[in-house]
């Protein structure tokens, strides 16, 4: 069963190979809820209310506390290159919310009895089980320069793959230390157990520029595939490259 829906400004698709089809609706309902609650673009969201000072940190839901603590951890770890609060702008935890919310959608599918599925949210992927017996999910990584080509194919069973890159949205990632667009890296792909970690690590590594290569490779339980602006490829040995 396949379904695509536009949530959080992203096309989110689910490919469910077992379990009840109603599970997909439950996952999408959660994603719509997460968008309502954590979008900085919706005036009534918890994030907007916190930003306007209508809520204190003590009054927040445990979910937002979790998101903000992830933001804080990565901000500290990157010396401020990654931040949910770029100077002069409002609070924007989107970089964490997306991966975190999609991971929880995947957890809902699993808790509901699905054991083989692939969830793709605007190019960030969570997979479970196998699409067919004995085969991993084959996750192609988009080429940084050519939209219709791939630069590597990963073979993933239970795991998450996130890519941060310059294409399409232009220079959308800012270095929190300078407020300037990041240069030095074209594309960062992170493989991890959990999409909240994979997605945030990818964004944070990107924000660090070239320093982000070694930083990301050193992150516990993260495997990297990074293309720098000289088109050099950096890859950690544990990356699950799919040999076809």
């Amino acid at each position: 069963m396949r379904r695509v829906e536009q949530i959080m400004g992203l096309p989110i698709s689910v490919d469910l190979r077992d379990g009840d089809d109603a599970l997909a609706e439950r996952a999408f309902a959660w994603l719509r809820e997460a968008d309502e609650r954590f979008s900085p673009f919706k005036p009534d969201s918890e994030v907007s209310r916190l930003d306007r000072g209508e809520l204190t940190r003590e009054e927040l839901t445990p979910d937002l506390v979790e998101v903000l603590s992830l933001c804080d951890w990565y901000e500290e770890s990157t010396g401020g290159a990654f931040t949910a609060q770029v100077p002069g702008r409002g609070l924007d935890p989107c970089a964490v919310v997306k991966g975190w919310a999609v991971q929880r959608a995947a957890d809902l599918l699993r808790e509901g009895g699905a054991s083989a599925f692939c969830l793709n949210a605007g190019g960030d992927v969570v997979t479970a089980g196998e699409p067919e017996p004995g085969k991993p999910w084959r996750v192609g990584v988009r080429h940084p320069d050519l939209a219709d080509q791939l630069c590597v194919v990963l073979g993933v069973r239970d795991g998450a793959v996130a890519t941060s890159a310059l294409y399409e949205r232009g220079q959308h990632i800012l270095d929190g230390r300078t407020g300037q667009p990041v240069t030095g890296i074209l594309s960062v792909t992170i493989f991890a157990d959990d999409l909240a970690i994979a997605d945030t690590t990818a964004t944070a590594a990107f924000a660090l520029g070239k320093e982000g290569i070694e930083w990301a490779a050193a992150q516990e339980d993260c495997e990297i595939f990074i293309v720098d602006e000289d088109r050099r490829v950096f890859r950690s040995p544990g990356l699950p490259v799919h040999i076809c």
């Binding site: 692939c118 999910w137 192609g140 320069d145 080509q149 791939l150 194919v153 490829v233 950096f234 076809c244």
Partner: protein
């Protein structure tokens, strides 16, 4: 601590576009060249075995001549110093198409010995691989409509 291994570190202008900038889908643009070139030119004609320069710090000029149509060429990239040691790669091309990638020099560390052969598989086969999904494809609905992921989802 894990280390990032630069699996391909080619900075020669003529090479990089070939590997990562393989021009469009392999059929477009190259068909004309292949059709125009006589079959007999496919043989290994220009074996430019560039001896590895001793001074790996300076960028050697590995590009011998401008690319010619559908000829087999072997081109060595510059030796590049990495945290794991010196890496140098040699690429064989037929026209603009890579037919072989091999390591001329690779550090003896285990991960790199493994990484270089795998790169060859990727460089040659990633384009034609069957896939289930795409990472890094679509940040916007506009991009999604034009993406590989949309094709996989059956949503044109």
């Amino acid at each position: 601590m894990k280390r990032a291994i630069p699996v391909l570190a080619l900075s020669v202008a003529g090479l990089v576009p070939v590997w990562l900038y393989s021009p469009g889908p392999a059929h477009e643009g190259e068909i004309n060249e292949a059709a125009a070139a006589p079959e007999t030119q496919q043989q290994a004609q220009a074996q430019t075995t560039t001896p590895a320069p001793k001074t790996s710090g300076s960028a050697p000029t590995a590009q011998q001549k401008p690319p010619q149509q559908a000829q087999t060429r072997t081109v060595a990239g510059p030796a590049v110093n990495t945290s794991e040691g010196t890496v140098q790669v040699q690429v064989t091309l037929q026209g603009n198409r890579i037919t072989d990638v091999k390591a001329l020099r690779a550090p003896n560390s285990e991960p790199t010995r493994m990484a270089l052969p795998i790169l060859k598989q990727e460089a040659l086969k990633a384009q034609s691989a069957d896939i289930d999904t795409v990472s890094g494809a679509t940040a916007t609905s506009q991009g999604y409509r034009q993406s590989l992921q949309a094709a996989l989802d059956g949503a044109q």
